[in-house]
Symmetry: C2
Subunit: 627 residues, 2 copies
């Protein structure tokens, strides 16, 4: 049956131009072309094979990742790939590795917080990977509360050095990716102490390992923090633990763009605005939102294809059974996630624009939009990662029992993805920040300060303020409810950006119609889920709410014939998806069967342990057995 | 600091008698005593160590499970444990194994479907484990739709045998636990074919492996289906694949309690009521509900203790930071789960009673309560497993970054638990059954048939029927909404059983008050979540809904000082919890630090692979490296 497309009938049903949709998803014809080329490059190269990843024990797994990372870098150089192409290549290699932190955090931190001189010194080394860096902020005792970090960097005026030290067990650095086994350097966050005075947390470039033999430098204790959730997954990464015992670094390795320590031990602020730091945060979180749409769409692609292959019940007269994608319950779980994948894609595009806009303003010393941009990215990071994490698991459940097999690809996708809800800001802590921003905006409404951008709508809520005034409780007490408000605010942004997208010119037959249907599914399913809020505030009547639900069901039927084509538009190769259930050709059963036999347990017919532990039991000889 | 109880202050705050609550949780003083004794037996025995489980590669992991299962059986025999004690021992060993299926499905299937003669022949062998059995129903192509199974059992009148055969690839048995590597026998479900006529699916006892050398018997292809979700977790189980090539078994190995095939090849029903089969289903699902409360309470215990240990933000004047359990957002996520653990415990107790009641009625040929009991257990299985699976993951997130480490215990707990949402009936398929039952009840209301038991309340909804009558759509079209109704129905059962529990006499100072607070949290948080349904139907006004939410917050404050004691009452040993974050003594940080060094990656300071893949990269010599 090799070569047969089991989903051909489904593809024929599509009522829109799939190639045009691919461009919409990719963002441009150019992006699509690069993606096509690089994804094929990776998929065709057996060195990037990853279908055995969930079977490897930790050490082999990790060694394999080191190999892939080196090989990828070799290919990037051999093929003289551009920065854009190189980052796409890492994307399609699809294996969490120390390089993510090197490129994604170490280099940006130096760029964002280093002086020009520091950048000139360190960036060329980092760009060529003559040094490998990580981002060492979190400690055993402090993650969310960065201001509470305990590592110290004490200035020694005699030698013109900082002494980096871990004064307590809880001050051990803990979690930084790439730290455990690979990084030669770390941007390390520590409390700056000068002459007994604590100036708060600052970043320092600290060398950790010898560039000759890779052994930890004197005073440095470093290792891996151990297994994390799932097979394969994030275990390809060496998240690390690190303790300093009075490690000395030259003064000029403190990142000094924003504040400086002089030779004499004077602490001073530079004239570069502190707010620039937030620019980096906006950048990183915007990347996370873009990733969310990618992870969610992968899971949705797998579940949608398998739901069209899988048939269960409802056979009439010995005919084929019903495809499970035709059950309304399956649709009501799957299609809102499909819609979310598209919605997150578009809000991610908008955030990319927002980041550029904010940076341009910052350069021009205009900080006015920063609080809003900050709240937007914090909130959207939280919203999209939470929905994606839950959505991947829902997709796994949508595949019934077979979704529980690693060969479905879904368990690893979930396990590798979920920490996104925690790193770069715990999702609840972020929502509390958004809530605080909203409260502040509300409190300023009376003062004549008109809210703009994503909070413009709040100018219209003065009457709500009246209802509010008899509530005299503190923020902390009401925080759980304020978090709900923050989520609603973020959902509003997602919906508006989807709608704005639809107001643009979108070429391709039927493409816009499909996106309109998905947009409808997105907001109507939210409306259904949160109908209580709309009813309680009389924004909807029960009747309207019921009609909206009818409309939602109608949209499911509209999307149904296009479902396979809508996930084809993500343009993921079988290598990238790494899922037998999500195969492009739908040839699920023979491939599942084939893959099973590769498990190490099947190397022998009679399992290792039979003679010691099974046979004596069956033969009632356990009492004499040594166990 | 060894020996110090870091949670002592928390324990002092408790306003109720923890020992009395332990009895409530255990169900009786006797249960508590047995649990205490057996859990200590397991925890104190190094042979049952499990803290390395998530680090073992599959083959070692599996061999280790074989060892533990044999050793457990040896101890059960040496200590002459009663059936109750033996099953508690397996519970506390806490490692999914082939024995679960042997005791939990193979033996019950023979008891439920075998004739007295068959039981006399097979049960003694099974009880002594001279044979090991599994339950082979699901196939590659059919899980939920059991009637669609393809394996055939064709009667051969010449030899008085059945020929068991797998006619297609999709007819391969797929998923049965214990099948892959261990079982010597399987209760196998196959279509009974006599003289070309298909009599539907029946159970057959089929020997799979030689009792001498454990090799598969002729015509049998059998193996493991490969890695499943997570480290350790369900990978200790050999879920298997099985194909039959015209395998012959004697006629008397068809399970013939309900229907029989005579020597002449006549198919006939016995006078035993078919409904008895449902009794077994009620039994198995009732066990799953009991398990749900156990798994959820484990996760809640870990997250609660760690939330009291973990401090983040809010330090005043250098004093200690705020315990994260004091944040209202943390409480609003954690305490409803704590309340659910108790709620599920009590509804589980009630289901146990229901099972006994149903069985007694069945013996007396009274089938009247069977549909309701069936709907109850199907619905509650679905509800409790879904909430538990999501709840475990929420508890993991409540632990911030550290929850992502395997040593937190939570990743494995999640991975091993989630298939409960799929096996023994996919949760959505089960809810559809409940929905159908509810619709049937509604449709009979006009006919004078008065609903009783858990559906008695439906007798009061005649006016709702009026609103309904202009809706003329089919069940399938509205199924997603009907599933929501089914969930609400099940929630009502849980709430009523919690309230009934509180109407009983509950000894112990303050115990009942705590349970009342938890019951309030349980229903008020549900009410908050589903306020839309209450508002839409005018069962609540917006104002009432807001007041209920205030009340919910007040209850969080009431439970807060008792939180640690409420999870202590689950009476779980550190061995059983297997979580550094959930340690009884709260000594989290030193133990996390200690455990990290045990990862295989830390065996050498310089990682395996450095010389091949890291050094050439740093030294810019990749172009000549062989990768
Ligand atoms: C896979 C992974 C990779 C990582 N990589 C890196 C890295 O490369 N470099 C690095 O420096 N760090 C890294 N981290 C660490 C990560 O940044 C932290 O885990 C994250 O910031 C969350 O902090 P925490 O773990 O201290 O959570 P905590 O703050 O301890 O959270 C615990 C609980 O408390 C709640 N909580 C905390 N504060 C409040 C509050 N004020 N109000 C209400 N509730 C609150 C949270 O919501 C959560 O439920 C990584 C973590 C993971 C899991
Ligand atoms: C860990 C594990 C252990 C197991 N152990 C055993 C064992 O020991 N023995 C054994 O025989 N089996 C075992 N199974 C198999 C298990 O019983 C099946 O996986 C389960 O019955 C679900 O069936 P399925 O996989 O065919 O799901 P499917 O029915 O294929 O479900 C796929 C999707 O279709 C939906 N769907 C299906 N039918 C309908 C419908 N009519 N209406 C609406 N939606 C529908 C489902 O909701 C789901 O979203 C095990 C499975 C697992 C994961």
């Amino acid at each position: 049956m090799e070569g047969v497309d089991h989903l051909a009938d489904e593809r024929k049903k599509a009522e829109f131009n799939v190639e045009a949709m691919k461009i919409v998803w990719a963002g441009s014809q150019h992006n699509l072309e690069v993606s096509n080329r690089i994804s094929k490059l990776v998929a065709d190269d057996p060195a990037f094979r990853k279908d055995d990843r969930t079977m490897l024990p930790r050490k082999e797994l990790f060694k394999n990742t080191l190999r892939k990372a080196a090989y990828a870098w070799k290919r990037i150089n051999e093929l003289r790939l551009s920065e854009e192409e190189a980052s796409k290549l890492r994307f399609y290699v699809d294996e969490t590795a120390y390089t993510d932190l090197h490129w994604g955090m170490f280099i940006p931190a130096i760029k964002g917080q280093g002086t020009d001189e520091q950048q000139r010194k360190w960036l060329p080394l980092a760009y060529k990977m003559q040094i490998i860096g990580c981002y060492a902020q979190t400690e055993l005792g402090h993650g969310s509360n960065v201001q509470g970090l305990e590592t110290t960097a004490t200035f020694d005026p005699h030698t013109d050095e900082f002494v980096i030290h871990s004064p307590t067990l809880t001050s051990s650095k803990w979690w930084p990716g790439g730290l455990g086994k690979v990084s030669t350097h770390a941007v390390t966050y520590a409390r700056l102490i000068i002459d007994g005075k604590d100036h708060g947390v600052h970043g320092f470039i600290v060398q950790l390992r010898s560039l000759e033999d890779h052994r930890p430098l004197p005073g440095i204790t470093v290792g891996d923090i151990g297994m994390k959730f799932g097979n394969g997954a994030y275990n390809t990464m060496d998240n690390g633990v690190l303790r300093f015992d009075h490690v000395r670094i030259p003064r000029n390795q403190m990142l000094m763009k924003v504040s400086q320590v002089t030779r004499e031990g004077k602490y001073k602020q530079s004239d570069v605005p502190r707010q620039l730091v937030y620019g980096t945060m906006v950048y990183v979180r915007q990347r996370i939102v873009a990733d969310a749409s990618c992870y969610l769409s992968r899971a949705v692609c797998i579940a949608t294809r398998y739901s069209a292959v899988r048939r269960q019940f409802g056979s009439q007269n010995g005919g084929p059974e019903t495809q499970v994608i035709d059950y309304k319950t399956q649709q009501s779980r799957l299609f809102p996630l499909l819609a979310s994948a598209y919605a997150f894609r578009f809000v991610g595009e908008w955030l990319e624009w927002l980041y550029t806009d904010v940076m341009q303003r910052l350069q021009a010393n205009d900080f006015s939009t920063l609080p809003e941009a900050h709240a937007c990215t914090a909130g959207l990071k939280s919203l999209t990662t939470s929905v994606t994490a839950d959505g991947i698991e829902e997709c796994r459940k949508l595949c019934g029992g077979h979704g529980y097999l690693c060969t479905s690809g879904l368990p690893e996708l979930f396990a590798v993805y979920v920490p996104a809800c925690t790193y770069e800001g715990d999702n609840i802590v972020l929502l509390l920040q958004v809530a605080r921003f909203l409260m502040k905006t509300v409190s300023q409404i009376g003062t004549g300060k008109q809210p703009v951008g994503t909070i413009a709508y709040m100018g219209r809520i003065e009457h709500l303020m009246q209802c509010r005034c008899n509530v005299q409780r503190g923020f902390a007490e009401l925080s759980a409810d304020l978090v709900e408000a923050a989520v609603a605010h973020c959902q509003l942004i997602v919906v508006s950006k989807f709608i704005e997208k639809l107001q643009q010119d979108i070429p391709g037959e039927g493409v816009k119609q499909q996106l309109e249907a998905l947009c409808g599914i997105y907001y109507l399913s939210l409306l259904h889920k949160h109908q209580g809020d709309f009813l309680a505030t009389s924004y909807l009547t029960p009747k309207q709410s019921a009609l909206a639900n009818d409309q939602l069901r109608a949209l499911y039927s509209k999307v149904r014939p296009n479902a396979i084509a809508l996930v084809d538009a993500f343009n993921y190769s079988d290598h990238f998806l790494s899922s037998i259930l999500g195969r492009y050709d739908g040839n699920v059963y023979p491939k599942l069967y084939e893959a099973a036999w590769k498990d190490p347990l099947n190397e022998s017919v009679v399992p290792d342990g039979y003679h010691e532990y099974v046979r004596p039991l069956l033969k009632q000889q356990l009492h004499t057995a040594r166990l």
